[in-house]
Symmetry: C2
Subunit: 760 residues, 2 copies
């Protein structure tokens, strides 16, 4: 094993100090001269026709500089999936949910903008709404989109093997029904978009939280009908994404259009209420499954029917209901499988991408069922999982190869450290343990942006400047890139400046999607570093009259291995390169070999390699349940993640902590409560995310099953775990109480009610 100086080390993130001291610039910290404040008027109806909009009085209000409606937009529809674009920049003909954007205003200050909204008269003709996805897909339900009969937004059917054969071969068959909740990402940074349009150069500059500046740039170019070269997305610090910053937002359109109309910069900041109701939410799923196994616990059948409530528009719905299948086949070997999913349009807020993107919903059902099945077969939950998990080197039904797999180690180590098997067999009073596991793709086909590029240049002192398109939403991506350049260039991270997430300055990158940053973007940075390193060593070998293979880089110098005295400063090599007429610029590119060229999985056909590689996670939870109140306290979490190699163990642990808490909230407290299309708990008092006092003892377990293609063997960290932990908690509650709650979140009310019923 090579001995590393920078990677694999516990290093404080390069952004932590500036965030702790408050000097990090989030979009809302950016103020431009003559900047206006924008506000958006939203639909009060879940489903209505727009008859007329009167904005005259608002336009006349002193301090108002621009007012726009759908008629002031290019009239384009937008959406991730070209063939399913269904949402206008601002509502034109109809509104389809409470909170939909209808009119936008820019004024000298927020108060004036708010006042202007009150002066706008919108006439609506209310239409029959539908909120229940099961109702929505029935014949004769109110039609939300002309293009979608029965309100079917997307439908997916994937079949492998033969379910009838599977039925015959199964000694035990479980039939269950599960439901999951609607959730909000709850990024601590409310959505904010700042646009600055220069009428002279006809260029638009924008700042906002995102997962890729290039996705924003392209989307805005398409919908605003502005050439790509005239739109620049600039870097700002980002206060969390969790999938919720994937798409272009109406706030982006409105800020841009208002700036173009007023000729002044415009900032729109969402209130927390708007962030809850009018940014994307997590799909609630209704799941019916049949799971079959042989006596020995070998899985023989999985038949699963999913109806997901997609809300008013398409968003990333096709991914949300199709991609989870990929995590199913890469975790468990199931010979006969039928996976059917329908995403229904309803008049609820729009559901899109959220950390896990459908997989949590699926795995709540799968992992709960596995435990129930195990019990019937008198196996313990660990045994049944170990018997059925995918192995390293295995080729999956989709055609993907599992090149590296530490799933078994994840399961065994989390179980051992959590003393799972003994505790599970003998749950002490009110206490119980549960286990879960999962896998995760690393990178996906993104067309133009499937690969990542990086460059490194040097200043006169031989210090480096690294260019990457990577976006850091808080995971520590930026630090990781600098660490890798430090490792290869033998420089302190202090000596490397980073230029990232700027469409004008950064080379193309997939962005922080599909867990590709470590596997793909970091590989590109490593390649660029090695390229620069090679050039420096060649230059040094001339000066030091040594064979390149005998030369190393360290302390801003190149030196002969073993004899650091025979050294030359990188600064001098840089100068030498200038004098030789070929300045040093390191360039690197990485693109995973994907057989899968299509956009998304619609059916069971073999597609070849669909992802760069797979990462894995397993979790054991220990809980205590108060039988009177039903209150659940998660006491301990043993969280194992196979990240291939931990480039910064501290950062990986941070990701593990975050994933544990993300699951904790989903498992026992988080839920958006709706009534008639209206969000009832759009604040942090009524929508309960875990707080400090809820945090359990978290025991992170880093499994390093090096991937042959990952940078230093590294893969995605803690998203696989971020799924496994949720069912682990659900299973622990069942183990503690003997009660199996099949709908999320598992609230005190549900538990107390069950106990009451059971005791009577």
């Amino acid at each position: 094993m090579v001995d590393h100086q920078w990677v694999g080390k516990r290093i404080p993130r390069i952004d932590s100090l500036s965030k702790a001291m408050g000097s990090a610039k989030y979009t809302n910290d950016i103020f431009l001269p003559h900047m206006l404040h924008g506000k958006i008027l939203r639909s009060p109806y879940p489903h209505a026709r727009i008859l007329n909009i009167d904005k005259k009085r608002a336009e006349r209000l002193k301090g108002v500089k621009a007012v726009i409606t759908g008629r002031d937009t290019p009239g384009e529809r937008y959406g991730i999936l070209t063939e399913k674009r269904d949402q206008y920049l601002l509502a034109i003909d109809k509104v389809r949910y409470i909170g939909e954007e209808v009119v936008a205003v820019a004024a000298l200050d927020e108060e004036t903008a708010s006042e202007a909204l009150e002066l706008i008269k919108v006439e609506y003709e209310p239409l029959q709404p539908v909120f229940d996805p099961m109702e929505a897909i029935k014949e004769g339900a109110p039609r939300i989109h002309d293009h979608a009969p029965n309100n079917v937004s997307v439908q997916v059917l994937i079949e492998h093997g033969d379910v009838l054969k599977g039925l015959k071969e199964s000694d035990r068959i479980l039939r269950e029904h599960f439901e999951t909740a609607t959730l909000s990402h709850c990024q601590l940074e409310p959505y904010v978009s700042l646009a600055s349009y220069d009428p002279a150069s006809e260029r638009l500059m924008m700042w906002m939280p995102h997962q890729s500046p290039f996705v924003k740039q392209k989307g805005l170019s398409n919908t605003l009908k502005i050439p790509l070269s005239k739109i620049r997305i600039l870097r700002s610090s980002i206060g969390g994404a969790f999938g919720g910053r994937s798409e272009i937002s109406p706030a982006d359109f409105c800020a841009a259009l208002l700036s173009m109309k007023s000729g002044r910069p415009v900032k729109i900041e969402y209130l927390r209420e708007e962030t809850f109701s009018s940014t994307r939410q997590k799909h609630p799923w209704i799941i019916d499954l049949e799971m079959g196994a042989r006596k020995d616990g070998t899985l023989s059948l999985l038949k699963i029917n999913i109806v997901a409530d997609g809300g008013a528009y398409q968003s990333t719905g096709h991914i949300a209901i199709s991609v989870p299948y990929a995590m199913l086949e890469s975790t468990y070997r199931i010979p006969n499988i039928r996976y059917e999913a329908i995403r229904a349009y309803t008049n609820n807020p729009i559901r899109g991408a959220m950390k896990g993107h459908g997989v949590q919903q699926l795995y709540f059902a799968i992992e709960s069922s596995l435990d129930m099945l195990a019990e019937e077969l008198d196996l313990d939950p660990l045994e049944i999982r170990l018997k059925n998990i995918v192995q390293e080197g295995e080729k999956l039904r989709s055609g993907s190869r599992v090149k590296s797999c530490g799933l078994r180690d994840c399961l065994i180590q989390s179980a051992e450290e959590g003393r799972f098997q003994s505790k599970w067999r003998h749950p002490s009073k009110n206490r119980g343990v549960g286990i879960g596991c999962c896998s995760m793709i690393n990178g996906y086909n993104m067309g133009f942006r499937t690969g990542s590029t990086a460059y490194i240049k040097f200043n006169e002192e031989g210090e480096a400047i690294l260019f990457t398109g990577t976006t850091d939403n808080g995971q520590g991506n930026e630090s990781m890139m600098v660490q890798i350049a430090s490792e290869e260039l033998g420089m302190s991270i202090e000596d490397i400046n980073l230029i990232s997430a700027d469409t004008e300055l950064s080379p193309l990158d997939p962005g922080s999607y599909s867990m590709s940053t470590t596997f793909i973007s970091a590989n590109a940075v490593k390649a660029a570093s090695l390229d620069a390193k090679g050039r420096l060593i060649d230059l040094a070998s001339e000066v030091l009259e040594a064979n390149p293979i005998d030369i190393e880089l360290g302390n801003k110098s190149a030196f002969i291995k073993g004899t650091p005295s025979k050294a030359i400063p990188i600064k001098d090599l840089i100068k030498r390169a200038y004098e030789k007429g070929k300045p040093v610029l390191g360039g690197g590119y990485f693109r995973p070999e994907l057989g899968f060229k299509g956009g998304w999985i619609k059916n069971g056909k073999e597609r070849g390699q669909i992802t760069g590689t797979y990462s894995f996670g397993a979790a054991v939870a220990e809980v205590e349940v108060d039988r009177e109140t039903g209150i659940v306290k998660v006491l301990k979490a043993f969280a194992a993640q196979d990240c291939g190699f931990a480039i910064n163990p501290m950062a990986v642990e941070g990701q593990i902590d975050g994933s544990v808490l993300f699951c904790l909230g989903q498992a026992i407290s988080e839920e958006i409560v709706m009534n008639g299309g209206q969000v009832l708990n759009a604040n942090f008092l009524d929508y309960k995310i875990p707080v400090a006092s809820d945090i359990p003892e978290i025991n992170p377990i880093i499994i390093e099953r090096r991937d042959p293609d990952g940078p230093y063997g590294a893969k995605e960290a803690a998203e696989a775990l971020g799924i496994a932990m949720l069912p682990a908690i659900a299973n622990a509650i069942a183990n503690a109480t003997g009660i199996r709650i099949k709908s999320l979140p598992i609230t005190p009310e549900k538990i107390a009610e069950f106990i009451r019923v059971k005791n009577n």
Copy 2:
């Protein structure tokens, strides 16, 4: 001759619209949150010892956030020439001129900052000052710097041939005395510096007008003792430089140190008065010369003694008195020459670089003397010049080769168009004509920054982003770079975005010094464009199955010459490159072959090639003089510049216009009036730059003597002319009046006085 699509064309500059519409961002247009305003307390004494500074009361004033004196600086001295660093960031022991920086303050607003200055008590012990450079270099004069006996700041002696031999060979010898004035650059943008220091990352960001961000970065790093990687100079629009933005400024130090002390951004904007007295001024020269020639007008001798008043500090003084020699030898062939120059320290404001950098002063004397000599020899001014000018291909005494030379064409065409010879022989009443010429170096040894690098990347649409370190002070450099990339990539200038003048983003560049931008930086951009073009054509040749040499780029596509139908969009080539795993990045570098490795010319030793190439200019002026008032009206200017090739004729003409007016002011009206070290006319009412009504009919003449190494044959535009025009006006006044005024400016008072004396 190749037919060009973009270069050689009259194209409006890419920055003109944003400047006309007011959206261009000059440093003073940048406002940062929590920004403070800085002010500087200056010395009221020309020469004094600082006994004590009491800043307590200022620090206690509400709204004051930081106060610094020389003791709060790292105590470094700064200066262009390492061995002659003589100026503290803020005065510590002594002050040496009226206006020297003593204390700096940052407060919430300008008013409070000004109030704070009044509360600072500085105790001085006045010392004997000296203002006259001839006095200053005498034994026993007050000593201004401990390191400089007799107040000699720099001394240069260059000898070629044998002046005694020259004396013998001369049939006529002229002995004359000339004096030139102290001038201000009068950039319309007063000096302003904005610093933003982040205590968390310990990084300093700065914006200010400059001629190279890298020079500012390095100078600040050295003097503030901050690593280069922690200082970033960012681009802002610049309102003129003319050599006056060459050096780091006390405003930069103060803004930086105040920001570091207060932890908030600090902006310091100079008043026009401060710009006059406390930024660099142009050296006034006292010149004694002996010029000898044979009967036929062949020059045989030049003996020249210069004493320049350098003011209180070194600044760029060594260049100011040495570099003019280079323009002497590259314009006229003089076998025996002795060039001696002394720069004296005085207690006047600091004299540094200004457009022409000493050459105007020298050429006022040379060209005036040539005319006088011609008269004695009964030759006309054109004849004597044509007889003695340097020829193409000639090797100069310094060892430099003149690779391209259009000087003869410049002289003949300006003379013909101005009907010089006939008008000169028969001056009509009160009217006269004059001629002058000069040469100019293109690039100089700048060590690390002698060469320039450029890069080009592409976005998903195949539009280009060009990275260059070039600075644009108003000449049109940015437009030139984009034009060249357009030419080579067959794209509209609209499709190319420019990233320039940012130390973090831009590759190294010499900056806008020594007239190197066209010859060096534009060559690098051309090389980068050709590199990208080659990659694109290789990719296209695979797709189009054609020989690369048969493929052209145009309209964002690659196509087969002659058959534009067989084409593929660049966008697709870019994507193809990604798929092949090697994204397209064009890189280019250019560095002139210089034999001259030393820092500056101290003596006559042969140094080899001292510059990339030489450009040339000649001018004819026609003036009318009112014999009563002595008022001179310049009627016509015929201004010829050999720029090799005009990349944008409109921009070259703009430069010619500017140069003509620059000379016009120097010739007849501009002069800083001093009394006891105090500037008496530090405003645009009393310091008279030409206004609209002063502008003559300007006839620009572009001579295109293509240089073998220049981009498309291009060289510097209009600086050579910007010297020639000054003596042309002086000579025209002499021709009109029969009076030879030998001190600048040639004011009405001087003329009227001479006429009065003559008529009595």
